[in-house]
Subunit: 348 residues, 2 copies
């Protein structure tokens, strides 16, 4: 098919030395004189030599590849995490293989099971919101395959995880709503069973309790803006309507804002909305969305770092890393100012 590439043998032949010497020279190890080393390196460059990773991978078990298994990449959070993973990996000479599960547990198990362990050194995974059976991951752990979870992590398997501090973030969000004078607070929650859903819900509930407030409703559903929009209809159909919404993520909060605008309800003034992520859209939407910022890029880098450390020495202890979040205050939780029209109709 493609032209034959130059191998270590070719170099050895043209130089009249053995392949062993060439191999040693390439890797800058012991037992090779400075002259021959330079000679080998020069002719290797001249002959446009590239190492064959299949061969090296065969003899030393270990490809320099890691697999990233993730529900999707078409949103701010995931794409930013991947960017962090990618950069850390490349800096440390690892290559990343990407697998999208499309939030399907079927695809996830299929990918994980069929993933030939001879083709990657380790796995970085973020589970789907359907995943209830973790046996496919358990098998990997029992086979001593390095594995770290990020963002959405299972509770039952014992391996390293890297997440943002979901609980504290939810507390910050709820505290902020209360401080702004909202008291009838509802929560647009994520899919049940996900650790992150539980953590954010718990932070919300605990903060309400601390202030002797009652929840004005919790609805579990998916992460899309359409989910948010739909759930708002249900929430506001009751007799006791909320005056503020804490959404499990920004996308659902966008749906909430869109719904409120359609209903002619003033966002901020009448109903406060706060999200979770700090998606760039939150700055663009009208009114701009207050939110809890997640360190997506750092989560990518950190989880990749932990994985590579696990790969490089199996004695590396299991980590449970939680990165801090931050409250970002924008217009959607402000009263008093008419942020809704946002100068849109003001003439020069």
């Amino acid at each position: 098919m493609t032209k034959r590439l130059t191998t270590i043998k070719d170099i050895a032949k043209t130089l009249g030395i053995s392949v062993a010497t060439v191999s040693r020279a390439m890797r800058d190890t012991y037992d090779v004189s400075a002259e021959t080393r330079k000679l080998v390196l020069d002719t290797a460059a001249k002959m446009n030599y590239r190492p064959n990773f299949n061969a090296t991978g065969l003899v030393k078990s270990g490809t320099h590849k890691i697999a990233v298994i993730i529900p999707a990449i078409t949103n701010y959070y995931f794409s930013t995490v991947i960017t962090g993973i990618q950069e850390y990996a490349l800096e440390h000479n690892y290559q990343v293989m990407l697998y999208l599960t499309n939030d399907s547990a079927y695809w996830e198990t299929k990918v994980v099971r069929e993933l030939s362990l001879s083709s990657v050194d380790g796995l970085l995974a973020c589970i789907t919101y359907e995943t209830a059976d973790f046996s496919h991951f358990q098998e990997l752990i029992e086979a001593d395959v390095p594995l770290v979870f990020f963002d959405r992590v299972p509770e039952s398997v014992s391996t390293s995880v890297v997440v943002q501090d979901d609980y504290t973030g939810a507390c910050l969000a709820t505290e902020h709503l209360i401080a702004q004078g909202y008291s009838r607070i509802a929560h647009l929650a994520g899919p049940r069973g996900l650790n992150l859903t539980q953590q954010r819900l718990q932070g919300y509930l605990d903060t309400l309790k601390k202030h002797n407030l009652e929840s004005y409703g919790v609805i579990h559903s998916g992460f899309s803006d359409e989910n948010g929009r739909h759930d708002m209809g249900i929430l506001f159909n009751s007799t006791s309507k909320p005056d503020a919404i804490f959404s499990v993520n920004d996308r659902k909060a966008f749906g909430a804002i869109l719904w409120l605008r359609e209903q002619g309800i003033l966002v901020g003034e009448e109903v406060g909305v706060i999200g979770f992520t700090n998606d760039p859209i939150s700055k663009i939407i009208t009114p701009s969305l207050s939110t809890i910022a997640e360190p997506a890029y750092e989560i990518g880098r950190k989880s990749c770092e932990v994985l590579i450390k696990h790969i490089q020495k199996q004695s590396y202890p299991v980590q449970e890393i939680s990165l801090p979040t931050e409250l970002i205050i924008r217009a959607s939780t402000q009263r008093g100012a008419d942020f809704n029209t946002f100068n849109l109709s003001k003439k020069r």
Copy 2:
């Protein structure tokens, strides 16, 4: 490190047959009886056998992997393209390796040059907007490495490309602005040198000419909303101000809308804005953005399909595929209605 995996030899030994027979049985080829085949397959499953891709890759040249080289993934278009690539690849038993260049020509050449050709069967690339020297790609082509470009394609190298119809899309956008009654039209253009920048600019210019209109300004810069915002300041600083903006992409159009809003200029009513991409944000921003929809997902699938065909038979002819775009009319190019306030302050 990790536990020793079961190999074809282990299966042969426990069954008392030769490795050759096992190998043939696994691949369902000739010269093996139905009984032994079943026997081999059963014990392979029982022993949890996984093929070692390093070994197969060594003997048959050909890993089932493709490399995707892309400037970034943290935006709608690129992440959607990747999703399409990924899905087509997985369906056809190829695995994708991801490389982000971060729009740096330095990183691009580094990645392409260091990419061991023994570890991938082909490349899918979208160049950075800095890339002026294409020798790193030229080398691959000369080495007969399958390579296809998508979206941002170089003109000088002769290989398959998959793009959207940028020229016609730009014509559609400009025609639409004119049809809506705008006549003083300016263009927020992309970085110079990119084919897509040239195509969209040309479509814009040709359509103006067709209607005997003059351009009210063309400014080249990057793709970010910040670029768009900045360029608007320049555009409106002249004595002859435009009454409509055609932006090379949606992100810059968002910047333009934000800038207009800050200036108290009514978007749509006073100044029309149209983008290019159909980023989901275009539905969320106020007013919603008219745009030219790109078939990002299909471009991903199609370019992956072309690449795999190139890999599978080297006689496959070079393709130049251009996928159609579509005009999406929203509020930012409508006059008459007060879309800017968008019911925001309307009480129930």
